[in-house]
Symmetry: C4
Subunit: 258 residues, 4 copies
């Protein structure tokens, strides 16, 4: 019975919801799609993503949906490559296009975190040392205030024993979302990181400055002295600005579209 119901839901999705989604290709959705394309290219240009990794945004009209490129290098993504997926990680309009294997990172975090509207999953080299070490990643300056309340490390082995280290299904995505909790970033042991925010400009800004901050912390520790970190109270005051990365976003978007 369950299988049949799933089938009917899928059928309804194809017959009913799909046209609805198309009808919703309003200016807002077009703009968001353009921003998601720009985000893919910016994150590649800034070396946060290489050929791997991905960035998504929650659907503006359907909070139970999100937009994510088909399985391809972020640097090459165009508007035609953007798929809509539901919160089970199923594409609703794939049309034969392949989804990223690890799309469950996105679906499960959107499910668990109504405040989150944009997500980056990356393997940025500067972050791996903190994912593989017991030295916690800390906020070194105001541009990385969003991690002042701590950065959890997700260890897939705790959730599922020996794996190929990939978040291949909803269960693993849920375990990662649980590690993330209410934070802005979770590191993934022997793998990479996930960064969340309220918007595309903010998740891109956070990803770029998370990389810079990690490199700054490594250099600070190398100095061998006593280090200090941004106080969580200072960070909260700093994060009162909801458009912290707007100026950088404008610059980056201009660079990748000219």
């Amino acid at each position: 019975m369950i299988e049949r119901r799933t089938f009917l839901t899928a059928l309804a999705s194809t017959l009913l919801v799909q046209p609805l989604v198309r009808a919703q290709q309003t200016p807002a959705l077009n703009d968001l799609t353009a921003d998601l394309v720009a985000a893919n290219r910016i994150l590649a240009m800034e070396n946060v993503l290489d050929a791997m990794g991905h960035v998504s945004v929650r659907h503006p009209a359907r909070p139970d949906r999100f937009l994510l490129a088909r399985s391809m290098p972020p640097e090459l993504v165009t508007a035609n490559d953007i798929l809509v997926l539901d919160l089970d990680g199923n594409p609703v309009d794939a049309g034969g296009r392949t989804s990223y294997l690890e799309r469950f990172i996105h679906s499960e975090i959107y499910k668990a975190r109504p405040d989150v509207n944009a997500i980056v999953h990356c393997h940025t080299p500067s972050l791996i040392p903190f994912a593989d070490s017991d030295v916690p990643l800390r906020a070194m300056y105001h541009m990385a205030a969003f991690i002042a309340d701590g950065v959890p490390v997700f260890d897939i082995r705790q959730a599922a024993g020996m794996t190929d280290l990939l978040v291949r299904d909803a269960r693993l995505g849920k375990a990662l979302a649980s590690s993330l909790g209410n934070k802005s970033v979770a590191l993934m042991r022997h793998h990479g990181a996930v960064v969340v925010a309220t918007s595309i400009p903010n998740v891109v800004g956070r990803s770029v400055y998370l990389d810079l901050n990690a490199r700054v912390q490594i250099q600070t520790i190398a100095l061998g002295g006593k280090a200090t970190y941004v106080d969580p109270a200072e960070a909260r005051l700093r994060m009162a600005d909801p458009n912290e990365y707007a100026r950088a976003w404008d610059l980056w978007k201009r660079r990748v579209t000219r």
Copy 2:
């Protein structure tokens, strides 16, 4: 009464001083504006500034004024984006254009330091480790002789307790200027740095070589041996040349204007 007087001063500024400033758009001011535009682009190209940070120059005819771009990424600044501000941080010719939030860094240092004609405020990643650590930034080679007499660290918390870490008003700008004292550079804890000099070429040269010097010091400490530093007496002899960075400035300006 105070408000009214302020209003009248502003009115006078609009009616009387503005035309005066315009009349002063002499070749000297035009050249300085072109150099300030070049400085913005050079500092972006050299990764001293990213989308954030700013560079200013004292007005050549009015020592109680300075030139600073409107609030925008340095890489994109053109001559039309340059504002004139007074030493209270108020733009005198904004024409609806927004000023940088942290313009008080500039106004208060120009007020306190008659010898200073150009200022950079930056978040250069190589400098943050020294802003966050008790290991002092030292002069490693002749190209950074200007810091051989020491680099103070401004801690905004000492001046104002818990803040969002930004120099949002004249009081905080004054505290920073006081930390700087008669030095060439002040680091700003969990934030960045301010660099001052007698001219645009010199402040740009100092900012570029401060970044290089910081990276050299981090590497020197990583070697684990006994390090030596430029002696303040050597540095004073080296700084006798008032155009130390002229050759570099010519090259950089050529790069950003071709």
Copy 3:
């Protein structure tokens, strides 16, 4: 007698085998040659190779042959520069073109490892510290799973005493192949590394991520905490995907051919 027999074999190679090889310029060989040219350029673009180093592929129809550029910088290689060599390191179609001095690295590994179809020899700076130190190179994340079972270090001095450090003949090539054993990578003390895989995309992907992984490990150690590494069991599960680097290969190839 031996010399004469060698001469006759070489003669036969010229008269008989060469036409055979030409007749085999099937689409498969043309495609493989194009991929080998792309691999040369990708490895230069990614700074795995500079003016030195080389990449080869086993001949698709003749497992006792391999393709390797003539002696030249990888960045400049074209299809006309690709030679076919036998497993004694002799070019069968040189036509006056010079072979790389260290071609015996390739010939001896192809001889010893039937499972290997592509080989990179490089001097990538990030790898030398592990070649010169007793700290073993370890797998820091899933993108470098292929080294989780260990990275041997070949010390030419053990094999041949004082040399110019170059693998100049078959005997030294054989000693290197013996050090490599059944592993994916061997470091070469005071020299560089050799990376092997089942295909050109895989050997290029491994070389690029080996460089990234080495830099990640250096940074992880610099943190000073307790580090963990990819477990060999996790690595084996991860390596079940025979086309692990396909997405990256597509992107890189597109970059060097546009």
Copy 4:
């Protein structure tokens, strides 16, 4: 009397030697000038030199002369900017063009070292840590075999007490040449380095790989293990090849002339 004699020598130089030099503008000199221009641009492209530093070559027909650009950024040098200087550091054909202040580095080394035909003076950031530390720069791999017999550090303070750290005259140049002795490289405390070789391609190759080798050594030390270095006997065997950097030189020259 001395002044008058100097004047007469200078006059003779203008009247007699200059035409001789012009007559010697044989193809060999033209080729060498082109190579010196290429060397300037390559060293800038490879970040060995920035706006400062210089490269020279001994005159092919007059061993008591050398070629050096006029005082300008290496990146911009053309054939018209190349001066001929004598071994007292005096330009013989300046025609109003300014010489580098530190030309005595070159003149005194050419005087002391008949085997040297090309010299680079640089402030490459990776070298300064070894100039400022008691940790000696060592040969990490075969590409830097030329420093296996040791790298002296020149301390200008030992030669002349407190200075502005610049090699401003023949006496300081001679002290530097004396520190260099019969080696390939001397570091200059709080300043930079000088690299010497038998030819332009070799001095450029050595300068590029000296930078890479320094960065490799810093990373090797950061690993915290026991390191080994290229043995002087291995280095001597490796340096038997007089054209070690020919392949790299061809590539670099092609890059800066296309």
